[in-house]
Assembly symmetry: C2
Homo-oligomer: 149 residues x 2
């Protein structure tokens, strides 16, 4: 039997979160945290809604996942995120010791890889999963924003 | 008249926050955020208490200050922090656009300066304010921790 659960499956779920951010007028970035093919935390960017620059999708999902697990380290977890994390979120992922990070679109301007930000040595990174779809929602958002102003 | 308000004054207030963390068995780091010589936010490390690696003193104080200001950018604010911020907190400070950061003790292992983490171009940094006191509380904490184990 072929499992329905693969990287594309979970990145689609992260994209659904990004869509929710989009609907709220937030920069559309979404995240899910998965353990044994089960989603234990979801998050989407809420910086405008909460008036809080720390309310990135990843930060919320890290807190929610730790809450679910009852421990602060995201052992055995994989995070799927539609956009390459920024310095702050990558720094948080470092502390979380998450073993796997799957990234949709790259962020050449604000992504952690542009700087020297280090993930935890345990963290394996996979990039470019549904890159086009994850990037398109951001392009759509910024084009719409520009046209409104 | 000599103003009682200078960097040492506010770093002492941040140290009081670090003491509160110490009392709770948390790595003792404290923060205050100041605007026009008035403290608008305080925070101390609560990662153990909250089971949340994102609950660093700085992160909480950034959220609290934004809440107080009613806006997400920490315009005209100065953050006093007893220990050099980590990658995550420096990344958050980048987004906050805070104009001034005053650091007590350096953190050569986990501090943001070891990595390539960038603060906002607007942010002026001052280091080494009450460095000994800010470092001593950490040393005291780790010696005690070691002796208990």
């Amino acid at each position: 039997m072929i499992s329905p659960f693969n990287d594309e499956y979970f990145m689609k779920k992260a994209l659904e979160e990004a869509e929710m951010a989009y609907e709220k007028g937030e920069i559309p970035v979404g995240v899910v945290v998965v353990i044994n093919d089960r989603i234990i935390a979801r998050g989407h960017n809420l910086t405008e809604t909460l008036n809080d620059i720390t309310a990135h999708a990843e930060m919320q999902a890290i807190t929610a996942a730790a809450n679910f697990l009852g421990g602060k380290y995201l052992l055995n977890c994989t995070m799927y995120v539609t956009l390459e994390p920024c310095q702050m979120c990558a720094g948080a992922l470092y502390w979380s010791q998450i073993p796997k990070l799957v990234i949709g679109a790259s962020d050449p301007n604000r992504g952690y890889r542009k700087f020297g930000v280090q993930l935890h040595p345990k963290t394996e990174v996979k990039s470019g999963i549904m890159e086009t779809e994850c990037g398109d929602i951001l392009k759509r958002f910024f084009i719409e924003k520009r046209n409104l102003n």
